[in-house]
Symmetry: D2
Subunit: 342 residues, 4 copies
């Protein structure tokens, strides 16, 4: 049985990634694409790499016909997203890729995003979209809030360790390398090739990155007490991928065992043998997350290194994984594409 | 029905690309992988991006059991390839990705590859693997010789034009940009990141590139008289992709119409609207080839610009397309993956 | 003796490159910097790589004091440049880096730049800034018009050959690779890292690139009759550098000898030994231009391959070389910096 | 007065960088270049970017004439370096860029480099080459041991803080991004463009990187008691540059003030205003080091972020700075070249 889906905000990178993945998904059909600033254009003109596909033209959201649509992926900017989702017909299942429904507490939203939330009543029904830890709620949800891409990476490295109590909760550092597509297709000087290629620098340093809102919420929930991590993301000259090096105080072997056991049956989360660590290069354009544990020379300390593709497992792949669950399809359907190397 | 396949030379880039593509092919199963210098190793250790797959370990070719194998992909270096293929059991269908069986004339082989061919009798039964132009012969072949990746790109731009007689045969220039994976995984100074990134230069200039052997053979065959083109490849700092800018003397509209008609029913060859031209970025990691035609300001001249991924449509994707035909499967099976962008 | 110079449009890439070069120039001192949209900012905030220098803050052009200034570099966008230069005090020597004074014929300007020229009377006194071919006029000029970066590259490859009559004037193709800084610091989607890295494509194909105005003007002047070349630039994923592969009909040895003799005494134009050809990588961040000649396998045809750094020899380095001449300084002063490799 | 210098191991990246810098140094002349595997070749054939220079051809070390040479830069691999230096004439001043004379304790050398030191007697007279902290000893030294490039970066961030006692000595993490030229011109699979571009991964993780030997030695010396830091370097797809993000426990303002005061008079060490942090892009191809301090959201914690060019300030620029001191020249001579951007 084929499920009809629509993508709102299809002219951005996460929208295009959704189209790429759904193109070979056996049970979904794209029946609507919106992109307000590019309404009226063919997708082949916005994204020539999708030229071989038979896709609907871009429309405005207002002009989109939601009759017969089963599920909507909402790949709009935050703030826009809540305004749009509030008005969508109630028969639709929704996977939101923005930041708008990730934080359960309205005050947290306002703190990190700088203005009050406009659809708090819907936030109540939203399920946090980190599939492996919210699988059952997601399967029954009408609205799923996709996680931040950095937030997903850090959580895959840390959630089982916090739950198991095998690391010091007051000394956790997430140092992270992020490729540029995570910043989207926005016209900013620092995203120009000439500014970024052959460069590297930290951004949102000192505990100011918005994904800390998710870390705080989720880690504190898992720990049953407030947990605050340190987090420094760095922009690197690559297009796709996140690599987090997480510094913790805990026994390396216990840390490794805890992660390996937690993810033993997960199709997309792969824990490497003890001492090995992963590369961004090896998960590119796939829904896999590779996780390694390295013992430090200083006793009682170790590093967890985790990598995933921000556009796939960190965003559109995760969204599709959640949509599969919401539609009663096998969770991995359409998502077993092997990473592209080199 | 599942067909059992083996890959010889699986530790190189084209070998890895074959595994990536076959991983989601519904009718093929990889039952053997060889890599002499890495025999005994798991593929996950040679190519960690394939870690999620259940693959046989690498063996030597000598230790490989070909019973029950239907088809072999041979991704070995040239010269090695002919020696190995000569000894393979006769029940095997073979797709060779090396240069060894591309040139029908032994003297041509010796001229371009510097030594006599050691398996001339097998060269007689080999079919040239440019699928769209040798479809029927490939379907019935036991041995198919995959084309050079540059050779494929230039031929897609030019064969219909030469056949139709719409361009001057004595003034054809193929200027080409090639990404670095086309040179394979070999340890050469000029392939180091520090030597190539932020660089660009011509190589095998002046008519010395070996793929000219294929151009000469095929274009002369199509034209019914000797045709020699000029060909300058350039190495650019990218990992995948070829973009050929072909300068011809002919009417742009007629050139465009000829190509559009020739490829109207081809699933992988896409001719852009007149005046548009393609980008390497838009076919990456896919089996598609995008072709555009641009009218020059000088009357009676135009450029054909064609792009494909050297590892996919230029090599392993082409090989799989041919294998599909040889095994009686739908030609596009496993190959409709959308390009990865950005 | 120190000469005081000012840079108008110092917040762009060519402005920054001028500051970089003048920083170690023994006879020039920067006394004024303008950047209208960033007026009031310190250069260290616009270009942190210049942080170690003691530089004037950015002002508007209106607020700049030209008393005591000997020479102005004008690194403004075209059209803006002519309006500004028209109003500058007459005591100033001016090196313009824009396109505004390159074309001697107002009709040509209008054809290539889409609107009438607003300072035709000044265009009359402007000298075309290709140093090696206009050295004496430049030394005596008040206004020098820097060439286009692609235009410089193509002319270095071709001018002596056209002058000597050793190539066919009706069959010249300039196929060119251009790094992204040539497009400046403008916020365009196609200049984003995610759009360009791992990509390559032609632009302004078919004879529509504006630098053809310069080729037409200069080559026709040298030949003494109209000459039109074909020209296809390609954008490649690198920050600096241009590499032109020029296809001509002529004897390789004669072509090589003609170039070698023409440039024998030039400090910045280096002709490689016959058969060798250059790489963008080897002239980066320098004022050198490397030129090679390759004989084609087809008799009577050859390629000239020339490379230079678009921001240095193609723009700001050329401007400084011209300024040296205009101020009576040694032509190479401050410009002998070795290329940066790797 | 001109000083004659020779470079041993001139066919590697640090050798080439020395030539680049000395090319415009007003008081040094290169009179000898060795490169055993490439002896007999012209530098222009090994490094075409140096083609414009009048340089001696490469010789073997055995064939080099040291009469009239004042100072030798030794850019050989470790282990080779000690064997060569032991045999050099005593009249030579020597700047060694290898790891061979960095560790004062022979046991430390053996621990980190895996074999006994063969010239322990010379190690006694070697001065550690971190210019700003060993200036006087360097000025009087015959043998100076250049620091590791990562080791220099971490020490610039931390030495004044350890000396001043403003941070917790038992909780220091140096997380570092390193460009690929730091690995030299060696033919290793992981240094190929296709393996590294679009990738990023940790290496020598868990406290196994050899530069920890330098950190241990120097930090313990400064602190007057054993200090061990955690250190994770990551390889990023760039050619030049190191960026270290250092996590410490201490008050940000005090940390910033301590660094700003320590480096107030240093020509190459630039401390950014509080809260700003640097980018690799802004020190490229220069001898500058930019250092920023960022306050963490968690009280009492902050990050120091430091960047320098591994080939310049981290290696050949440092070597030249030390050579200037050893020869009685102004310390900054030949080293004030502005960074190359973009």
């Amino acid at each position: 049985m084929t499920h009809n889906v629509a993508i709102l905000g299809a002219s951005g990178y996460t929208g295009a990634e959704l189209v790429r993945l759904i193109a070979t998904h056996p049970s979904m059909k794209i029946v609507g694409l919106s992109g307000n600033s590019k309404a009226g254009m063919a997708m082949a003109d916005v994204f020539p790499h999708l030229r071989h596909l038979d896709l609907p033209a871009l429309t405005t959201i207002e002009d989109m016909d939601f009759d017969g649509v089963d599920l909507v992926f909402c790949a709009l900017p935050h703030a826009t997203s809540q305004a749009v989702i509030k008005e969508l017909p109630r028969h639709l299942k929704i996977v939101d890729l923005s930041a708008d429904f990730r934080l359960r507490d309205g005050a947290d939203y306002e703190k990190w995003y700088g203005k009050p939330h406009a659809a708090l009543e819907m936030q109540k029904e939203a399920v946090y979209g980190l599939t492996e830890f919210y699988r059952e709620e997601i399967a029954g949800a009408r609205l799923v809030a996709g996680t931040g891409c950095n937030a997903a990476t850090g959580q895959y490295a840390l959630r089982p360790l916090i739950a198991a109590g095998v690391i010091d909760l007051d000394d956790i550092i997430i140092d992270l390398l992020a490729a540029v597509s995570g910043a989207g297709r926005s016209l900013k000087e620092n995203l120009l090739h000439a500014e970024l290629s052959e460069g590297a620098h930290a951004y949102s340093a000192g505990g100011t990155h918005r994904h800390l809102g998710e870390f705080d919420q989720e880690f504190s929930k898992v720990a049953g007490r407030p947990v605050q991590v340190q987090f420094t993301p760095h922009l690197i000259p690559a297009n796709r991928g996140i690599l987090a090096t997480v510094y913790v105080k805990g026994e390396a072997e216990e840390v490794h065992r805890t992660l390996a056991e937690a993810y033993a049956d997960e199709p997309f989360l792969i824990v490497l043998p003890m001492g090995q660590h992963p590369s961004i290069k090896h998960i590119r354009a796939s829904n896999f997350c590779h996780i390694g544990v390295v013992k430090d020379r200083i006793a009682g300390r170790c590093q967890i290194i985790a990598t995933l593709d921000n556009l796939t497992k960190g965003s559109s792949g995760q969204a599709l994984q959640n949509a599969n669950l919401m539609l009663g399809l096998p969770e991995t359907e359409g998502l077993m594409l092997a990473p592209v190397f080199p």
